[in-house]
Each structure stands twice: as structure tokens, then as C-alpha cells.
Symmetry: C2
């Protein structure tokens, strides 16, 4: 697949980014790698997430990609600042685009961020936002049960509502007017978050923002693929059945061609 956009994620969540890439860049070829043998990254150390991310990038580079998107918020937070300049092709993470959009959207200069433990502990969103506007007050809360809920199909109902009310209370107390969904799984449970936060709060979906950013970069660099309909290939490090089973939820359509990559080729 010549000159594709390479996308990697710890597992299946990055497919929400692929969905937006297909929406906004229908002509582009996409190669996706999900590290399902080592998923999740959210509780793992910076050092380990950096090692995994470099291995994933090296795999994608073999697929002849022109740009790499780190679709995982944890990898974007923990690894991208250290490794982005090791490589010649552009590498785009999900943090910057979402932070920029949130700064643009807020009226009262109070922004909230939800994510995995790794993402929140790294303070990468806070740092990005403060670089853009040091006046903004950022409230950040880890929501570690949201990923298992989404992966187990618990998208609504009493259980997730109760947990979400607890997680989201600090944002209501701090009257944020903008909330960043800082994990690729969270767009799936947007209705739950919307109901608790209310219609006045802007929810920023990092998947959509990164797709728009990539469109800008490819346009500026004259690397846009003018083809009518791109090809999409999916690779995983384990369990293509599990991955394909969840794909419909995240991508909005089924995946039938996910291939397992042998560890030695990583």
C-alpha cells in the first residue's frame, strides 16, 4: 500500500481516529496497527510506552507510510514528546490538536480533561493548553473504568451512569465549559458524558481534531492523495478475532481483513 497514512494504537480504540480520517480524507490509504498483545497502555510506565511506541513506528515504516498518526492518547502523552524527532516523516499525536480546539472553544477559560491514568499523570494536556494560554485553569481526572466498560459493551445504563457521575463531578464543581475526551474510547460513550455535563459544555473529541490536523499537514506538504477511495489495511499483534469483534463499535463498520503480525517482524 504505497504512501499510506500509518496509524497505531495500543489496541482497538484508535479506530475512532480511523473513522474520522476516512470521513475527512476519503482518498487516503490507511495502514493501522493495534498492539493487542500488549494492550492496554494506560497503566504502563513512560519507559515501557516509549519502547512499545518505537516498535510500532518501526513496523509502520516498513509499510511505506508518508505520515504516522499516534492514535493512542497514552502513547501521544508519554512517548511522543521524546521520540517525535527521531524520525524523518511527520508524526502526529492526538494531544496537540485537541488542546488547540479546546483553547479555541472555551469562553470561561476553564477546561476539563479526562483520560487514562498514564495520560492524566503525564500532564501533557495541561502543558499543551498552558503553552497556548497560561490563563486557562485545567482540571484533569483519570477515568480508568471507562475503557473496560466500552470494551465490554457497557455504553449506557445505571452502572456506567453511576461511575461517570463520580468521575465527572470535579468538572461540574469547577464549572468547566469545555471537556476534552482524552482517550480514543470515550467518543463511544459521549451520550453518557453529554447527559451528565449538559448541553452547555463543549465536548472535544480528539479523534476528529487529529484528522483535521492531518488534512492540514498533507495539504500544506502537497501529499494529499487525490484518489477517490483509499484502501485500508489492519494489523494486530494478537487476537484478530477480538479486534474484529470490537471494530464495528469503534469504526462504525466491520473489519474482515485484520492480520496478525508475528512478533519477530515487529
Amino acid at each position: 500500500m504505497k504512501s499510506a497514512i500509518g496509524v497505531f494504537d495500543s489496541g482497538v480504540g484508535g479506530l475512532t481516529v480511523v473513522k474520522e480520517l476516512i470521513n475527512h480524507l476519503p482518498g487516503e490509504n490507511i495502514v493501522y496497527f493495534g498492539d493487542t498483545a500488549r494492550v492496554p497502555y494506560g497503566i504502563k510506565s513512560k519507559e515501557t510506552v516509549i519502547r512499545f511506541s518505537i516498535e510500532n513506528i518501526l513496523f509502520l515504516l516498513k509499510q511505506d507510510v508518508k505520515l504516522i498518526c499516534v492514535a493512542c492518547n497514552t502513547a501521544s502523552s508519554l512517548a511522543l514528546p521524546s521520540i517525535r524527532h527521531h524520525f524523518r516523516i511527520p508524526i502526529v499525536g492526538v494531544i496537540g490538536p485537541a488542546a488547540k480546539e479546546a483553547v479555541y472553544a472555551t469562553r470561561n477559560k476553564r477546561i476539563g480533561v479526562i483520560g487514562t491514568r498514564g495520560t492524566i499523570k503525564s500532564r501533557t494536556y495541561e502543558n499543551e493548553i498552558r503553552l497556548l494560554d497560561p490563563q486557562i485553569k485545567v482540571t484533569a481526572v483519570a477515568c480508568p473504568l471507562f475503557v473496560p466498560f466500552v470494551e465490554e459493551g457497557v455504553f449506557k445504563g445505571e452502572v456506567i451512569n453511576k461511575v461517570a457521575q463520580t468521575y465527572l463531578k470535579p468538572f461540574k464543581d469547577n464549572r468547566v465549559d469545555t471537556l476534552i475526551l482524552g482517550c480514543t474510547h470515550y467518543p463511544i460513550i459521549k451520550p453518557v458524558i453529554r447527559q451528565i455535563m449538559g448541553d452547555q459544555v463543549t465536548l472535544i473529541d480528539s479523534a476528529k481534531q487529529v484528522a483535521l490536523e492531518i488534512k492540514n499537514i498533507l495539504t500544506a506538504d502537497r501529499m494529499l492523495n487525490k484518489g477517490a477511495r483509499g484502501k485500508h489495511g489492519f494489523y494486530v499483534s494478537d487476537n484478530p478475532e477480538w479486534f474484529s469483534g470490537l471494530a464495528r463499535t469503534f469504526l462504525g463498520k466491520p473489519i474482515t481483513n485484520a492480520k496478525k503480525v508475528e512478533q519477530c517482524s515487529l
Copy 2:
């Protein structure tokens, strides 16, 4: 640490087994390895769990162990049948001992099993039980949200009660009188399970059963350590802080000496 019992687990759950080993074999040295870089195993494929398990065993063999305990139910179910005979030292999993105790305990020949998706899908508990008594009816249900609940400290309350009621309903419907807690995390939420299942149902804790089995093997082979108080060493493949933070819950006491093992030495 000469002639220790080697124990491995996908992460922190196997510490419930270590707790029972210390109870029943206070003189033994123990070397524990938690594969926290690749945790959890519960959703991963048989092939991958076999590969990870072999790597973990090879690490323990370097520590001069006399017996290896596979403290993880998923690894015991998916990997142990294929790899147990590759090695010269005894390798003991958690499935056999718990299955044996359940067959002994049941009066109405209806046994329930809860575990991860991997454990339940493998049908290893059912096969073990049917080998012992083909008359027994086994009901098996995967409870994938229990592990994240335990790791996030959700041991009681409305949320876990609601989820547990849903998971455990088939056992009440099928009137099992014995329920195997087929995951090392589940002893932590025994009170929740006990309350739903009632006092008449026997809960079989695989951690305790495997400790008793190991005591039998070491006694029969005259390998018991007569020392008064064994030494306990803990190794992880990532994030010793996360591991140590959860240790008190699983082991009942803090761990201060957990060491990270570099991947290259695995």
C-alpha cells in the same frame, strides 16, 4: 535465593496465591514474577499466552527455583496443558487443585465457574471437572469487569453489586451449590459474591487450593524447606510502583522491594 518456589502471574493477582503460600509454607523462599508490561492476559489468544508463559518460566528458572506455580488462571488454562512437560521441574497450575476441591465439595453435582474470557473460553475447568466426575453439570461465566473493579479499588457498593448480580444470575438459575473463583483477583471481592450467592453455596478459592497442592508435592518429594521464615523476592516487567501500590490489597501487607526486570533479560 536458593531453592525457592517460583510463582508467575500476568500482573498483581498472583499475590493472592503468594499470601496462601506464605500461610501454608512459611519456611519457603518465594520468587514472584508479575508480567506487568503485558498485563492483562485474560483477553489474549492462546498462542500469545503460551509465548508469554514460556518467557516467564525461563526467567524463573534463572532464579534457581525447585517448583513453579502458574498463579494466573488464564495462563494455567491456556498455556499449562501444552508446556507443562517441556520442563524438568514440577509446574503447578491453579485449575486442577480448585477443580478437585469443587468436585469434593458439591452435593448436588452442580458446579459454577467464574473467570476471565480466556479462562472460560478454554473450558479447562469443565474438562478437569468432567475427568473427575462426568455426572457433574458445570456452568461457566466470564466476568471481565471484575478485574478492573478490583484493580481500581471498587470492592463494594452499588456499581459492583449490580454488575455481580448480572454475572452471577445463571448460577442462581442453575442452582449450583459450589462456585469456583477462577481468577486470582476474585478472592478480594468474596464478600460481594458471598452476599449474592448466599451462605449455602461453597466458594472455592483457587489460591488456597494451589498452596495446599504445592505443600503436598514438596512433602512427597522431600523438598520442604524447614527454615523458620522464608525470603520473598518480587520482580515485574514494568511499573514496580503500580505493583507495590496494589500489593497491600492482594498480599495483605506492603511490598517495598519489587524490582523491574529489563526486557532483554527475560
